[in-house]
């Protein structure tokens, strides 16, 4: 491992914004380390700026001109006298060039080395590294000019169904699922011709197709002294647009034996890659519980708090200790999972419009509390949600003694969570918590498309629907009465609003014109 430089960190620049910047600053406070925030134009009054000990403006709102500019980050680190940079997730977190730059400038990068980031960030190199470390990968092979018999032999070895796709490209072009041997030759031909026309490269890649895979990942911690441990798993199968929305630990299908195998596999690939710091090894898990390596995320994950809640380990504190050159304070035997944690990501999005972003001002923002509830928010009331960055405004993490209690507490907390002024995913989460398939723990990455094919997430019981009807009628009545009362008080209108005949009102709002024009 070479010599280890032991250096106490006194001040950390957080090269990020939003909830993760706030999260890192909290760890700094706990450790008596001073925190330095950076902010763009639109983040001038942002929560992470308010939380920091010092804050520096680094340019215009687009991240490409502020949070992503290496020179500016390094400059602030030097001006503020920060001895370390924590990248959070996103932005410069998995950037080998930035990690290398920090090393050159004598600033501690709180994360793995540039070399490890580079190796694991390259999909092919990471897959090769995983195979060397003895990890299972999704079986497959490139088929280039193979005969029909050879192709069939490969497919049979891999096992049907198989996925046939262009070796050169992505984006679903030339991709098809083949369920039986008699369909194979035909599908390979079509895929090859589509690949040829789309990418100018007719090579086809054939791999095992997982029907309803789960996404399960293992949290790891490695120090500079060659020690590595895993902290159990997180199940992150519930995704939209390949982005996680609900995560939990432990996974409802996990067994101690499988956890041990996946955990050891993750520590093995980390050691082979010379990994240092907190990292996550992602797997696809088939319905028969076979697991396949996907990739290593060389950073702190958004969903790290579910692991913190069930292990009691503060991952950010450990990242800092590791970066200082300390040996891991935990051995594998010290890590005991207790209870169950669920995280709901609260996005400023409209789930019923295909999770389209929703911008605006937070007219009201009240965070839930009570037993088992933790909220990592990146915003405060009256904040404007800018269009430039990720629309996640908060994470709500709830702990229970078991999954049933965790779900019950999550429902309670979602009902307490009040965000008014823009659309959020709170209602969506509330509906999922009642979904029978979710409650059974029968998850897969296709959960949302299977359970909610038309993106409709409002499931109302009769009583609630009736109460909602009263609520909107009362609200309308109060507003109309208010107008009528103000008109009367005004003395000029003599209550005219209240005495409009329905026909006049109907004409005024263009009802008939609408009717005539509605043939379009």
């Amino acid at each position: 491992m070479g010599e280890v430089m032991n250096r106490k960190i006194k001040k950390i620049l957080i090269a990020n914004r939003g909830e993760i910047a706030v999260r890192v600053m909290r760890a700094c406070r706990d450790l008596g380390i001073r925190s330095v925030a950076v902010f763009s134009d639109c983040d001038r009054g942002a929560y992470h700026v308010r939380m920091a000990d010092e804050a520096y403006h680094i340019g215009p709102s687009p991240a490409s001109q502020s949070y992503l500019v290496h020179d500016k980050l390094i400059d602030v680190a030097k001006r503020s006298g920060a001895d370390a940079i924590h990248p959070g997730y996103g932005f410069v977190a998995e950037n080998a060039v930035f990690a290398e730059r920090c090393a050159k400038e004598g600033i501690i990068f709180i994360g793995p080395t540039a070399k490890a980031i580079g190796l694991l960030g390259d999909k092919l190199a990471a897959r090769a590294c995983a195979i060397e470390a003895g990890l299972p990968v999704v079986p497959g092979a490139t088929i280039d000019g193979a005969s029909a018999e050879e192709a069939l032999a490969i497919a049979t070895k891999v096992g049907f169904p198989v996925l046939v796709k262009a070796a050169a490209g992505g984006g679903g072009k030339g991709m098809r699922v083949v369920r039986s041997a008699d369909m194979l030759e035909e599908s390979l031909k079509t895929a090859a011709s589509e690949a040829k026309s789309a990418f100018g490269d007719g090579r086809v890649y054939l791999e095992k197709y997982l029907e309803r895979p789960r996404h399960i990942e293992i949290q790891i911690l490695c120090d500079m002294h060659g020690n590595g441990i895993h902290l159990g798993e997180r199940e992150c199968s519930i995704q939209r647009r390949h982005q996680k929305v609900i995560e939990e630990s432990p996974s409802p299908v996990m067994t101690p034996e499988l956890r041990e195998r996946m955990g050891m596999a993750s520590v093995n690939i980390a050691k082979r890659a010379g990994y240092v710091g907190a990292g996550t090894c992602e797997f696809m898990v088939d319905q028969d519980l076979s697991f396949y390596f996907l990739e290593v995320n060389t950073r702190l994950q958004v969903e790290h708090p579910v692991t913190e809640m069930v292990t009691g380990v503060d991952l950010v504190k450990e990242q800092i200790a590791i970066a200082e050159g300390e040996p891991l304070r935990y051995r594998q035997d010290d890590i005991k999972l207790s209870g169950h944690a669920i995280e709901c990501r609260i996005y400023a999005e409209d789930p019923e419009q295909g999770f389209a972003p929703s911008t605006g001002t937070l007219k009201h923002f009240r965070i839930p509390a009570g037993p088992g509830v933790r909220v990592d928010a990146g915003v405060v009331i009256f904040a404007d949600i800018p269009i430039y960055y990720d629309p996640m405004i908060a994470k709500m993490i709830v702990w229970g003694h078991d999954r049933t209690e965790a779900i019950a507490r999550t429902k309670r907390a979602l009902e307490e969570f009040r965000v008014f002024g823009l659309k959020t995913t709170i209602g969506f989460h509330r509906v999922v918590m009642d979904n029978a398939t979710f409650v059974k723990g029968d998850l897969s990455t296709r959960f949302l498309e299977e359970e909610y094919p038309d993106n409709k997430y409002t499931v109302l019981d009769t009583d609630t629907r009736e109460h909602a009807a009263i609520v909107v009628a009362l609200d309308t009545f109060m507003k109309e009465r208010h107008i009528a009362v103000s008109a009367k008080n005004d003395g000029t209108n003599d209550g005219a609003v209240a005495t409009l005949t329905p026909w006049v009102a109907f004409h005024r709002r263009g009802g008939l014109r609408t009717f005539q024009g509605s043939g379009s």
Binding site: A348, A356, P357, T359, K363, H364, I387, Y388, Y389, D390, P391, K411, L414, E415, E416, F417, R418, F420, K423, I426, G427, H429, R430, V431, T458, L460, T464, R465, E466, H467, A468, A469, I470, V471, V472, A473, L474, D475, T476, F477, M478, E480, R481, P502, W503, A505, F506, R509, G510, G511, L512, T514, F515, G517, S518, S520
Partner: protein, 170 residues
């Protein structure tokens, strides 16, 4: 007394409201409720419906009769109409919210990435019109109905602000 027709998920509620001495007397499809309302903010209220407590936020959304009620962690879309107006609307054979926007305006700031239509084009409901990037995401804006494009005010690479006119249909 005032009578409304509220529609949620195609279920209709005929609601009578009478305000007497600080209490709202509400009858829903014949069932009675005594309601108390405390205003909490611009659009927020605390409502007690037969003593069942709801903190709610009700705001307008889209077309005239459309409201979205946020309560108990859920966002519930509902249509509220004056009862008599609703009867006339029904007699005229008009569906709720059938009024179609002739001028499409930007709902949020963003960057136009692609424009798929030209003036004079006929489009069918659901056909992509243009693509806007906002909040790191590409949003495909689709036709709400079959229509003929009258004017196009945007082109690829242009930034748009909330409220900007984007397209007009004939």
């Amino acid at each position: 007394m005032k009578r409304y027709l509220v529609t949620i998920d195609a279920s209709e509620y005929t609601i009578d409201i009478d305000y007497r001495s600080e209490t709202y007397h509400v009858t829903v499809n014949g069932k009675e409720y005594n309601c108390e309302v405390s205003k909490l903010g611009e659009s927020r209220s605390l409502m007690l419906l037969n003593n069942l407590s709801y903190e709610v936020d009700v705001h307008s959304s889209g077309y005239e009769s459309r409201r979205v009620a946020f309560m108990r962690g859920m966002e519930i879309p509902a249509d509220v109409e004056d009862y008599n107006l609703a009867q006339m609307r029904k007699a005229a054979g008009v569906k709720i919210g059938e009024k179609i926007e002739k001028v499409l305006k930007a709902l949020m700031p963003g960057l136009v990435l692609k424009v798929h239509v030209n003036p004079g084009d006929s489009v069918v409901k659901g056909q992509p019109l243009f693509v806007v990037e906002a909040m790191k995401m590409e949003n495909v804006i689709k036709a709400q109905s079959d229509a003929v494009i009258k004017a196009v005010h945007i082109k690829a690479g242009v930034s748009i602000e909330k409220g900007d006119k984007l397209l007009e249909i004939a």
